[in-house]
């Protein structure tokens, strides 16, 4: 079957363990560095698979409700700030790019480059969260946050300059579902970013000590996978939430 599973190096006795030559990062229960790499990479991809299933539940809900309440979804989507959304998309892609550079720096053993690119990754991540904060607070002012304070007046009586078609009160109620999903999806996404930034701080400290630029690049590589995954979720969220039935120039 797959030959990867087979440890290629003959086992060593208990006594010889200390004197045996292997890099410090090789955990005792793995036979070879190769086996450790493959196991950890596989584990990381499996973890990302669970993340896909996690977000998948919300995407399924989005799909169903968007089909049911399309006019409400379109109208509610048009109230989002597309400029901020687009800027945020660019910010996040830049952050992902810096992360990719970081992985390259770790592989080519450039400690300074690694530290700088991790810093840039984190900085752009924080900028993203800052912009998200501005967007969220806008929603509070407009009474678009689901709950007791939610108001449908903007959708029943749209202002003249917005060129929106007024919704019936019944359909306008459904905008609350859109905003529920908006907050749940972007909120879960933001939570993943916050966790990511927490891990980044740890990686930065260790990178500064030179832990990842002497041949042991896996933590950087796997964090990169996580960070890119979070990016990709946003790449789906942005068009699904911001770009429903946009008519530029109308």
């Amino acid at each position: 079957m797959d030959s990867h599973a087979i440890a290629t190096q003959p086992a060593h006795g208990e006594a010889g363990h200390e004197s045996h030559e292997h890099p410090a990062f090789l955990r005792h229960h793995f036979e070879t560095v190769e086996q450790q790499k493959e196991a950890t990479a596989f584990g990381m991809w499996l973890f990302l698979l669970t993340e896909i299933m996690f977000f998948g539940g919300m995407f399924a809900a989005y799909l169903i409700y968007r089909n049911w309440y399309y006019p409400a979804f379109a109208a509610a989507s048009n109230t989002l700030n597309i400029t901020l959304g687009a800027v945020n998309t660019a910010v996040l892609i830049t952050s992902g790019f810096a992360m990719a550079i970081g992985v390259w720096c770790a592989e080519t053993k450039r400690k300074r480059g690694l530290v700088i690119s991790l810093l840039v990754t984190m900085l752009f991540g924080l900028v993203f969260l800052g912009i998200k904060y501005v967007e969220y607070s806008e929603k509070f002012e407009l009474h678009h946050v689901p709950g007791a304070d939610f108001s449908i007046s903007q959708f029943v009586h749209p202002s003249a300059e917005s060129h929106e078609v007024p919704l019936g009160a019944d359909m306008a109620e459904k905008t609350q579902i859109y905003f529920s999903l908006y907050f749940a999806m972007t909120g879960m996404h933001a939570l993943h970013m916050i966790i990511g930034i927490g891990i980044l701080i740890w990686l930065l400290v260790r990178a500064q000590q030179g832990a990842y630029t002497s041949g042991y690049v896996q933590p950087i590589e796997y964090f990169g996978l996580y960070w890119h995954f979070v990016d990709i979720v946003w790449i789906f969220l942005f068009p699904l939430l911001y770009l429903i039935n946009r008519h530029p120039g109308r």
Binding site: A5, I6, A39, G43, G57, M188
Partner: protein, 553 residues
């Protein structure tokens, strides 16, 4: 073909001087361990605690149902009891039972590895389990939760002011514990196998745990998000499941059962793995149709993802989708039957002996077959309308979960107890316990099939007087059953100190775990083994023992 292996004389066996149990001492060496065997023991202690907690609730429920009138407790207390019984038994006992205790201990040794792929993640799983337990117990202590274990919306989001969020957080955290265990198993089985240990030389226990791990990894995150949405709905008022805001409560059911039906297979598949090992060992014969049994586990895992809506037939899903889900549900019976028939064929012309694990395994086969077949009743659309939400359902899933999984868990605990502790449990007592459990179980749950068929609804604390006879039988059975579960707990604890020394291979079984000392060393193998024989090759074992040079000292 079967081979008779004469049991070697175990009377001269001694406990090994060094093992995972005495390598280090002190609480810290246990709480911060990375050793899969020690983590398995931590799990064993904690799930035993929760089993008896959940079990005592079952006892109170049965006591209340002794009489038709509500006399022992108020209706809301009763609701809280069966909710907690369900939550604890499912998320804190059944899901982690065989994988996290037996699987954790045995799988790395079976594949010939020194540990699971991620020892720290394994320890984290246990800590998450403990946190989940703390959340659940606090929900209980603070005043309980009465949604039923299904957290059905809008009941859970709008109509109850009990501790839904606390209990839901407990389940959320327990879910991550189970995801990490599953992830660890998949990576270990893929990447940590010893040289020569090919996929089709793996013991079937590994295959079934692998299948269950797939379900854990793919299903549990969906439960996690469903629970997050319920919590957000209760706390900040988002409306994904709220009909007044345009949300659909049925969507919650879809998301919930997308996990919770596969969860049934998470619970039963590892148990089936135990049965394969036990049946083969005590018939001294290779499991009949090894490949079919291995793939039937994977098939159950696969089909398991496409049958969830059979929990929702009466909830207004479309007739056409109900038709499809009904058909798919019946298809699950096929791989399950493959297993049952192959075990029966393994027994055929085997040299069968009746040790305790084997008795439990026989219990499993009979009870699981009844539980599985009544599942087909419930999967057929017409019958389901009559039987769902009655005691028929209760009896059905207790036959599968208690008659099936718990029997398998006890079979496995007895089977691997000598390996885990180095000591034998008392044979006569344990045989008695197995028989008492079997009798108690049937007395408890068989009347419930009849009660359900006659129309007694589940989740009520009072019932019409004509149902009393069957309910008294059931409560009497529960008493016997409780006794049957207390016995192993007592004599196994006793055997830790006074049990006979087991020796390396008391059952003359073929798995790699039986070729090393019991209890094993921390690193399992002093030298990573090279596997050059098929699984369940008793000829190999006979030859090995013949040519073995016994050294004294």
């Amino acid at each position: 073909m079967s081979t008779i292996v004469s049991l070697s004389d175990q009377s001269t066996a001694t406990l090994p001087k060094l093992s995972y149990l005495n390598k280090e001492y002190g609480l810290k060496s246990w709480l911060l361990t990375g050793d899969h065997k020690r983590i398995a023991m931590l799990y064993l202690i904690s799930i035993t605690f929760f089993f008896f907690l959940g079990g005592s609730m079952a006892g109170l429920i049965r006591l209340e149902l002794l009489t038709p009138q509500p006399d022992l407790m108020a209706s809301d207390t009763y609701n809280k009891l069966f909710t907690m019984h369900g939550v604890i038994m499912i998320f804190l006992f059944l899901v982690p039972s065989v994988p996290a205790v037996i699987g954790n201990f045995i799988i790395p040794i079976m594949v010939g590895a020194k540990d699971l792929a991620f020892p720290k993640l394994n320890l984290l799983s246990w800590y998450l389990y403990v946190v989940a337990g703390i959340f659940t117990v606090s929900a209980l202590v603070l005043g309980g939760v009465d949604t039923g274990w299904t957290f059905t919306t809008p009941l859970s989001t709008h109509y109850l002011n009990t501790h839904v969020v606390t209990a839901a957080l407990g389940i959320f955290v327990a879910g991550f514990s189970s995801i990490f265990t599953g992830l660890n198993f998949i990576v270990t089985i893929h990447r940590m196998r010893a040289p020569g240990m090919t996929w089709f030389r793996l013991p079937l226990f590994c295959w079934s745990n692998y299948a269950a791990a797939i379900l854990m990894v793919l299903g549990t995150p969906v439960l996690a998000i469903a629970i997050v949405l319920v919590i957000l709905e209760r706390t900040i008022g988002i409306g994904v499941f709220d009909p007044t805001k345009g949300g659909d409560p049925l969507l919650f059911q879809h998301l919930f059962w997308f996990y919770s039906h596969p969860a049934v297979y998470i619970m039963i598949l590892p148990g089936m793995g135990v049965i394969s090992e036990v049946i083969s060992t005590f018939s001294r014969k290779r499991v009949f149709g090894y490949t079919a049994v291995a793939f039937s586990s994977v098939a159950i895992a696969l089909f398991g993802f496409f049958v969830w809506a059979h929990h929702m037939f009466i909830m207004g899903v479309s007739n056409y989708s109900a038709l499809v889900f009904s058909l798919l549900t019946m298809l699950v019976a096929v791989p399950s039957a493959i297993k049952i028939f192959n075990w029966a064929a393994t027994l055929y012309k085997g040299s069968i002996t009746f040790e305790t694990p084997m008795l439990y395994a026989f219990g499993f086969i009979g009870l699981f077959t009844i539980g599985g077949l009544t599942g087909v009743f419930l999967g057929s659309l017409g019958m389901d309308i009559h039987l769902t939400e009655t005691y028929f359902i209760v009896a059905h899933f207790h036959f599968v979960m208690v008659g099936g999984m718990l029997m398998a868990y006890l079979a496995g605990m007895h089977f691997w107890w000598p390996k885990m502790t180095g000591r034998m449990y008392p044979e006569a007592m344990s045989k008695l316990a197995a028989v008492v459990t079997f009798i108690g179980f049937n007395l408890t749950f068989f009347p419930q099939f009849i009660l359900g068929y006659l129309g007694m609804p589940r989740r009520y604390h009072a019932y019409p007087p004509e149902f009393q006879v069957l309910n008294v039988l059931s409560t009497a059975g529960a008493t016997v059953l409780g006794l049957g579960y207390l016995m192993p707990m007592i004599y196994m604890t006793w055997s830790l100190k006074y049990g006979a020394i087991a020796g390396a291979n008391p059952w003359q079984a073929t798995g790699l775990e039986w070729q090393i000392q019991s209890p094993p060393l921390t690193e399992n193998f002093t030298e990573i083994p090279v596997v050059d024989y098929e699984a369940y090759d008793y000829d190999w074992l006979a030859n090995k023992t013949k040519h073995e040079v016994t050294t004294v000292g």
